[in-house]
């Protein structure tokens, strides 16, 4: 299908992007792998599409005990991340969509699209990632939990753009993993779990089972899940999803523990 009429503008730098995004119903496009499909269905009808894909915000760099991931870094780029303890990043990226989506889809674009079944937010939550965002009003930093308010809804203002995804490097002897059970047609997670196991702590975050991905309360996944608010739909009932979430959480934890120190 053909998208509704729109204009196309290419931003040359961040300030130019902010200026273009000032127009009502403007929408930023990076890889376009979430936005263009919904434009084709005419669910999204932006007045102007602001192409930010050529801004210099792509690449992964280790600096000051943190991994800085440019928001325009593609899933395919992320399959090459090989830092000890951060195994979940490449593992998750390699399972997202298909190779065509991974070649164009970006981490920043995906996170701000806020699909409740998107895989990577679970990994970013488990790893304790923070997002740097900027707008003409200035910059601020927020956690993934502070960004994601609900399905396809974030706390970003209309002119705010993510400029950095910051993942703290885990202590030596840590391991992480991502596990999911996918809907066979869409590939999105019916339940997905990311786990980070450090010498002092175990963290699990889930996606696909609730209005937003969320970090699980500490302790045994089964008891923690009993308290969580889970949704059901025609593909998977609430009861089934809750059970599936426990299964993927336990699998992710088991593999993250195996990877510790390896």
């Amino acid at each position: 299908m053909i998208p509704a009429p729109t204009r196309y503008e290419r931003a040359t730098d961040l300030d130019h992007a902010f200026e273009l995004l000032a127009e009502p119903d403007a929408k930023a496009i990076a890889g376009g792998q979430s936005l263009i499909p919904v434009m084709k269905l005419r669910i999204a009808r932006p007045s102007v599409v602001v192409d930010i894909s050529r801004l210099e915000l792509r690449g992964v760099e280790e600096r000051g005990g943190e991994l800085h991931i440019g928001p325009l870094t593609t899933w395919d780029d992320l399959t090459g991340v090989a830092h000890p303890g951060l195994e979940a990043i490449a593992e998750c990226a390699n399972g997202i969509g298909d190779v065509q989506v991974r070649n164009l889809g970006t981490v920043g674009g995906s996170v701000v699209h806020a699909d409740p079944a998107s895989d990577m937010p679970a990994v970013l939550l488990a790893l304790g990632a923070r997002l740097h965002v900027r707008s003409p009003a200035g910059s601020r930093e927020l956690t993934v939990a502070e960004l994601l308010l609900g399905p396809f809804t974030t706390s970003l203002g209309p002119q705010e753009l993510v400029t950095d995804v910051v993942v703290p490097l885990p202590a030596p002897g840590s391991g992480s993993a991502y596990e999911s059970v996918e809907h066979p047609a869409s590939g999105f997670a019916l339940a997905g779990a990311a786990a980070l196991v450090t010498p002092g702590r175990e963290t699990v975050a889930l996606t696909g089972v609730s209005a937003t991905p969320f970090a699980l309360a500490a302790g045994d996944p089964r008891s923690a899940m009993a308290e969580a608010e889970i949704f059901g739909d025609r593909f998977a009932s609430e009861e089934y999803r809750r059970e599936l979430a426990v299964v993927v959480a336990e699998r992710a934890l088991a593999r993250a523990r195996e990877r510790r120190g390896s």
């Binding site: 299908m1 053909i2 998208p3 509704a4 009429p5 729109t6 204009r7 196309y8 290419r10 496009i29 376009g32 792998q33 263009i36 499909p37 434009m39 084709k40 269905l41 102007v48 599409v49 192409d51 894909s53 395919d76 969509g97 298909d98 190779v99 065509q100 989506v101 070649n103 164009l104 047609a185 590939g187």
Partner: protein
């Protein structure tokens, strides 16, 4: 209001007028007559429209034409050279890699991306790479065997 987009297609620089909403697949098919990029779905899932953008497989139905301004696109029409089929094309003919052929251009370009990164992919890697290309005829076995044969010929 139309804008002009200029990009390299199959080694040749081409310019055409497009709208802001024009998808790359429509620019290729309707603007440039390159109908090898097929439209098999409306939902960005089938991969029949796959082309190479700077050497990487992308779905041309999920890229705006203006996003490729100044970049390099290869369609199935650009794969053969000097009248000689590309090794992947030849392997698909010889190893029953296609039946109706509708998905084939996309499958072959996805395989070209795979083989450009991994000279000897495992069957699992081949099947993982084909995740975004739906084939309703072959059951994929012939496709996997064709890609394997092309890879062995190249090595």
């Amino acid at each position: 209001m139309p804008d002009t987009v200029t990009f390299v297609v199959n080694g040749e620089s081409r310019s055409l007028e497009v709208e802001g909403r024009t998808l790359l697949v429509h620019a290729l098919r309707d603007g440039l007559g390159l109908t090898g990029a097929h439209i098999g779905c409306d939902t960005s899932q089938c991969g029949a429209c796959t082309v190479l953008l700077d050497g990487r497989a992308v779905k041309s139905c999920s890229v705006l034409a203006q996003q490729v301004d100044g970049r390099d696109v290869t369609t199935i029409e650009g794969l053969a050279s000097d009248g000689e089929l590309h090794p992947l094309q030849r392997a698909f003919v010889e190893h029953h890699g296609l039946q109706c052929g509708f998905c084939t251009p996309g499958v072959i370009l996805t395989a070209a991306d795979l083989l450009s990164r991994d000279g000897s992919p495992s069957d699992d890697a081949i099947r993982h790479a084909l995740r975004g290309n739906l084939c309703r005829c072959t059951g994929y076995q012939g496709i996997v065997e064709s890609i394997r044969a092309a890879e062995e010929e190249a090595s």
